[in-house]
Structure formats: structure tokens, C-alpha cells
């Protein structure tokens, strides 16, 4: 059997000592795409943050079959895993859109030409060409959402984790993002409440449950959510 790209075994996430996710298991094969769903406050964002090494956890986190534990392990992991934050305002901090998109590849020490190529490509993909030289803070919420996705794409991660990526997007941009998600060759995990998106993508849905809320939530959710 092939080694999965990401595996969580008995994964328990701690937030100031409290267990916000309990004994969660997940297998993501390379190239596989999945949706992570669950009600507000069930711990989806916390789960993603723990995978990136920002919250303590119990259990095992394996990337390509290797356990990820130490600070160094996580540094390496973050090079391979791109994370789009739930709130773009927590993610963006560079003065202009161009610099924002260039931040990751420039940190990787790539040549200016390569950095530029990636910036242009990501901008074209998400329709941001016109905004490249705009100050990040002058953008609308939806525009910032697109920038927050683009600035992760320029890192060219193997695995992409997106936390509510379609939140606040108009129809055109919604389609842009949804199409990209469907067409990309990357391994993708999308955290979302967006039922249209779940239907559009038609991917496997992983339900994060384990809290009392989850069971009641499950019954009122239409078809796409029940296919796990």
C-alpha cells in the first residue's frame, strides 16, 4: 500500500489545556481531495492549527509516513503544507498585494525571476492582476480573501489546507476558487460550511464530530454531508 501524504492517528488537540478535538483520525493520500465539515466551534480551525504546529496535540501526526513532532519537523512541514487562514486579516501583513504574494517564495530564497513568475501566475489564477500594486489594507474583504489564497499558492505547497476559502466571495470569484480547487493536482483539504461548494466539488466529506453538538448537527444536514 502507498504511504499516505497526511495521517492523523488518535489526534487530540489541546487549547489552553482543554481538549477541543478528541481522538480524530484522518488519512489523506497524495493527490486526494477532501472536505472537512462540522458545526461552529467543533474544532476544525484548531485541528488545522495543530497540524501546522501552532497548538499542542496528543496522538500522532504523520507526513509521508514520518512522525512530525519537533519544532524542526514542523518547520519542514510548513514548507510543504500551505494554510489559508479562516480570516484573511490574520494572514496578510505586507504593504502591497505584490509583496504579499512574493513573501513566501522570497523567504525560500528563490531567484527574483522565479518569485515574479509565481506572483504573476497566482495573480492571474485568482484575477488579481489589476490589484498587484494596491495596498493590501485598501482592499475589500472578498479581495483580501483572494489575496490570502494567492499568497499561499505562490509557496507551491504539496498539501493545501483552506479554512472557509469561499467565505465572502461573489459568484464570479466563488467559481474561480471552486474551479481551481477542482482542477489543481495538489492534495487539498477544504474546511467549509458552504453547502454549494461541497456539492460543486463532490469530494469525500470528513465530519469532525465527537462533541455533543455534532450528532444533532448531522441529522439536519442534506445529502453531501452524509457520504463519509
Amino acid at each position: 500500500m502507498k504511504t499516505p501524504l497526511l495521517e492523523l492517528r488518535n489526534f487530540t488537540v489541546l487549547r489552553s489545556g482543554k481538549k477541543v478535538v478528541k481522538n480524530f483520525n484522518l488519512l489523506l493520500e497524495e493527490g486526494e481531495k477532501a472536505v472537512l465539515a462540522g458545526p461552529n466551534g467543533v474544532g476544525k480551525t484548531s485541528l488545522a492549527e495543530a497540524v501546522l504546529g501552532f497548538l499542542p496535540f496528543e496522538g500522532e501526526l504523520l507526513y509521508r509516513g514520518r512522525p512530525v513532532r519537533t519544532k524542526e519537523d514542523f518547520k519542514l512541514l510548513r514548507r510543504k503544507v500551505g494554510f489559508v487562514f479562516q480570516n484573511p486579516d490574520d494572514q496578510l501583513f505586507m504593504p502591497t498585494v505584490r509583496e504579499e504574494l512574493a513573501f513566501a517564495p522570497a523567504n525560500f530564497g528563490l531567484s527574483p525571476a522565479e518569485v515574479n513568475r509565481r506572483v504573476e501566475a497566482a495573480a492571474a489564477l485568482l484575477g488579481l492582476e489589476e490589484l498587484l500594486d494596491e495596498p493590501t489594507f485598501s482592499l475589500s474583504f472578498g479581495q483580501r480573501r483572494l489575496v490570502s489564497i494567492a499568497c499561499v499558492l505562490t509557496a507551491e505547497p504539496e498539501l493545501l489546507i483552506l479554512d472557509e476559502p469561499t467565505n465572502g466571495l461573489d459568484r464570479e470569484n466563488w467559481l474561480r476558487v471552486a474551479r481551481f480547487l477542482n482542477e489543481t493536482e495538489k492534495t487539498v483539504l477544504v474546511i467549509t460550511h458552504d453547502r454549494d461548494l461541497v456539492t460543486f466539488l463532490g469530494w469525500r466529506v470528513v465530519l469532525l464530530s465527537g462533541t455533543p453538538l455534532a450528532s444533532s448537527w448531522r441529522t439536519e444536514i442534506p445529502d453531501p454531508y452524509q457520504c463519509d
Binding site: R79, L92, A104
Partner: protein, 189 residues
């Protein structure tokens, strides 16, 4: 009972702090430092506060280094005074004020007759500072997610500059939003 003790501690602290602040003789300050240290250990102050002492001293030493660099002979005494005073005051603060926690401290101050408004203001600033710190942590994570690793380089300093800039811009924007929200809910002024 506990309240009385808190008040006593605070008054003792204020008196001692004023005294130390006024002292100018190296010998007296050495004694003050010794007494503060003694108090620190006698009151079984959590040892991890010593780390704070270390950080604060990094700053003090920077100032002293600056002084000694310009004119070591003339400034030697001043440097010693600064160092002793700073540490005596810090140890005293750690021993008498910090363990009670900020909330406790504010309550005690209120008990001592500090206006409620001022206490509220202090509380709000504290809340605000905590939020600011959380925001900063989030941005630092965002940078780490995209391959940022601090190193002694121009790029690192520039990045920190941008992070702080973003933090400022965001808090200003947020303050505006909060103001709007408050006016919308009928606050006047």
C-alpha cells in the same frame, strides 16, 4: 482578610519603591537590592519571574553600555546607580505586586480609593494590550506559515517592521470599527 493583606503589600511596596527611587548612594542601593532579594525569596515568589528580570536587565544593560561607551569614568557611578535601582525595584515589584495578579491589584487600588473610572480604564488598556499581543502572535504565525524564519538579517528586520506596521494599521482600523459600532448602538460623545 486577604483584602487587607493585599492592601498592606501594596502600601509596603509603594513606600519602599518611593524610598528606593529617592536613594542616590551606591551603598544604600546595594542594601536595598539585598533587602529586595531577601523579600523575593522569603515570600516564595515564583522563580519563573526571574526570567522577566533577565529580560528587563537586557534593557538596563543596554542603557548602561550606552552610558559607559560615551564616557566610562564619568558615568560609572550613574551606571551603578541605574543598575542597582532598576533591579531593586524589579525584585520588589515581583515580590509584592505581580503575584496578586493584575485584577487583584486593580481591586486593591480601588479599595484604596482610586476612582472607579481609572480602574476601568486600566482594565480596558490591559484587555487591549492582550488583544494586541494575540493579534501579533497570529501575524507571526502567518509569517511562519510562509517560510519566515527570524535570522540576523536585513530581511528579518524588514519583516518585523511590516508585521508591526500591519499590527498598527489593523488596530487603528479596528478602533474605528469599534467606535462606529458603539455610536450605532447609541453611544454619544
Amino acid at each position: 482578610m486577604a483584602e487587607g493583606r493585599g492592601r498592606l503589600r501594596l502600601l509596603a511596596f509603594l513606600a519602599a519603591a518611593l524610598l528606593i527611587y529617592a536613594l542616590d548612594s551606591v551603598r544604600a542601593l546595594m542594601l536595598a537590592l539585598a533587602l529586595s532579594s531577601l523579600l523575593f525569596f522569603l515570600l516564595r515568589t515564583p522563580r519563573n519571574y526571574l526570567k522577566g528580570l533577565l529580560y528587563a536587565n537586557a534593557f538596563t544593560l543596554l542603557v548602561i553600555a550606552g552610558l559607559l561607551f560615551t564616557d566610562p569614568i564619568a558615568h560609572l557611578r550613574t551606571a551603578a546607580v541605574i543598575f542597582l535601582k532598576a533591579n531593586a525595584l524589579l525584585l520588589l515589584t515581583f515580590a509584592l505586586v505581580l503575584p496578586a495578579g493584575l485584577l487583584e491589584l486593580l481591586r486593591t487600588l480601588e479599595g484604596l480609593g482610586l476612582p472607579k473610572r481609572l480602574v476601568l480604564l486600566a482594565l480596558l488598556s490591559y484587555r487591549y494590550l492582550t488583544t494586541l499581543r494575540d493579534e501579533y502572535e497570529k501575524l507571526k504565525r502567518a509569517a511562519a506559515c510562509r517560510g519566515f524564519e527570524p535570522s540576523p538579517s536585513l530581511r528579518t528586520y524588514r519583516t518585523y517592521g511590516y508585521l508591526l506596521g500591519a499590527l498598527t494599521a489593523k488596530s487603528l482600523l479596528k478602533a474605528k470599527e469599534v467606535y462606529k459600532a458603539m455610536t450605532l448602538r447609541g453611544l454619544e460623545g
